[in-house]
C-alpha cells in the first residue's frame, strides 16, 4: 500500500515537472527595441537617450544633431509581424523568422527604403537609414534583447 502511494506521488511529480517545462518552453518571443531618430546638422545637439547610437554613428558620419523621435519595444513571436509607424508617413515592419545559436534571422521592411534579411544576436544594433527627413536623415536602430 505504501509502495503504491510512493509510486503515485512520483508519477504526479513527474507529470507536474513535465507540465511546468512545457509551460516554460512556450512559443519563442523576441523583444526588439526600436529607436527612431533624426540625424541632422540643425545644431540642436545629441539627445541623451541617443548617446549609444551617436557613439556608433559619429565614427562614420559628420553631423551635430541626433534627436530621438520615438522609442518602442516590441515583443514578437517567430513569424509574427511587428510594425512601427515612422514620422515620414512610412512604416517599418519586422518579422523574426528563425532563432539559432548565431542569432535571430529577421526580415525587415523599411517602407520606401529597403527590404532586408538580417541575422543578429542579442544586443547587436542594426542601424538603418530610412531615408531623408527634415533636412537630415531618418535613422532607425533595431536591437534584439533576448
Amino acid at each position: 500500500m505504501t509502495r503504491c502511494r510512493i509510486a503515485r506521488v512520483l508519477v504526479a511529480a513527474a507529470l507536474l515537472a513535465a507540465g511546468m517545462a512545457s509551460a516554460e518552453d512556450g512559443p519563442t518571443r523576441i523583444p526588439i527595441n526600436v529607436l527612431v531618430t533624426h540625424l541632422s546638422n540643425e545644431g540642436v545637439g545629441i539627445d541623451p537617450p541617443a548617446r549609444l547610437l551617436d557613439n556608433k554613428l559619429k565614427q562614420q558620419f559628420r553631423y551635430d544633431s541626433l534627436q530621438v523621435i520615438q522609442k518602442q519595444r516590441l515583443t514578437l513571436a517567430l513569424d509574427e509581424v511587428g510594425k512601427v509607424d515612422l514620422p515620414n508617413g512610412k512604416a517599418v515592419r519586422m518579422r523574426p523568422i528563425h532563432k539559432g545559436e548565431e542569432g535571430v534571422l529577421m526580415a525587415v521592411d523599411v517602407e520606401g527604403a529597403a527590404q532586408l534579411d538580417v541575422r543578429v544576436k542579442s544586443r547587436h544594433p542594426v542601424v538603418i537609414r530610412a531615408g531623408p527627413y527634415k533636412d537630415g536623415s531618418l535613422v532607425l536602430s533595431l536591437e534584439l534583447d533576448y
Partner: protein, 176 residues
Amino acid sequence: MMSGTTDRTHGIGEEMLHAYHDGELRGLARWRFERELRRNPALRHELDQLSVLGDMLRDLDARESAPDLWDAIARQLPAADARRGAGRAGALPRGAGLLWWLKPLGAVAATAAIAVVVLYGGFFQDPQDDAGGVVRWIDTGERGVMVLDDDPDTTIIWILDGITEGAWIGGRRDEV
C-alpha cells in the same frame, strides 16, 4: 580472310592463332603452335596477315588520336571561365541587380562595395545556414546602399537617396 583457318592449320583454331599473335599462348600450347607454324606455310601466312592487319589498325588508331587538341582547348578555357562566371552572375537569385551601380562610385563607395560584396557571399546561402555576416539579403530598389560593419557590435546599413548619391556626398565622414 581468316575463314577456313582451322582446315588449313591442322586443327589449330583461329582463337589459338589470335592468342599466339597477342602473346597469350604459354607453355606446351605455345610449343605445339610454333611447331605447327614451322611446318605449315598457310599458318605462317595467316599469322603474317594478322600482323599486317594489327599494324594497320594501330596505324589508323594513331592517326586518329594524333591531333593535339590541347592548344585549342587551352585557348578556350579563359573564355569558358568568363562565360561560366557571367552565367553565375546572371544566375544570382536575389539582390544581384544592386551591384551594377557600384561601378561609378569613388573610393568611399568602393569600400562600401567591398563590404557589400563580402556580405553578398552570405546572401546566397540557406537562410538557416549560420555562416555569413549580419546582412543576409537586401533589396534597396534603385537606391544605393553602404553596409558598414567595421564595428563588431553594430551594423550600419546606410541607404542612399539615389543610385550614386553617397559616392561624393553623404558617404563616410561626410555630411548627412
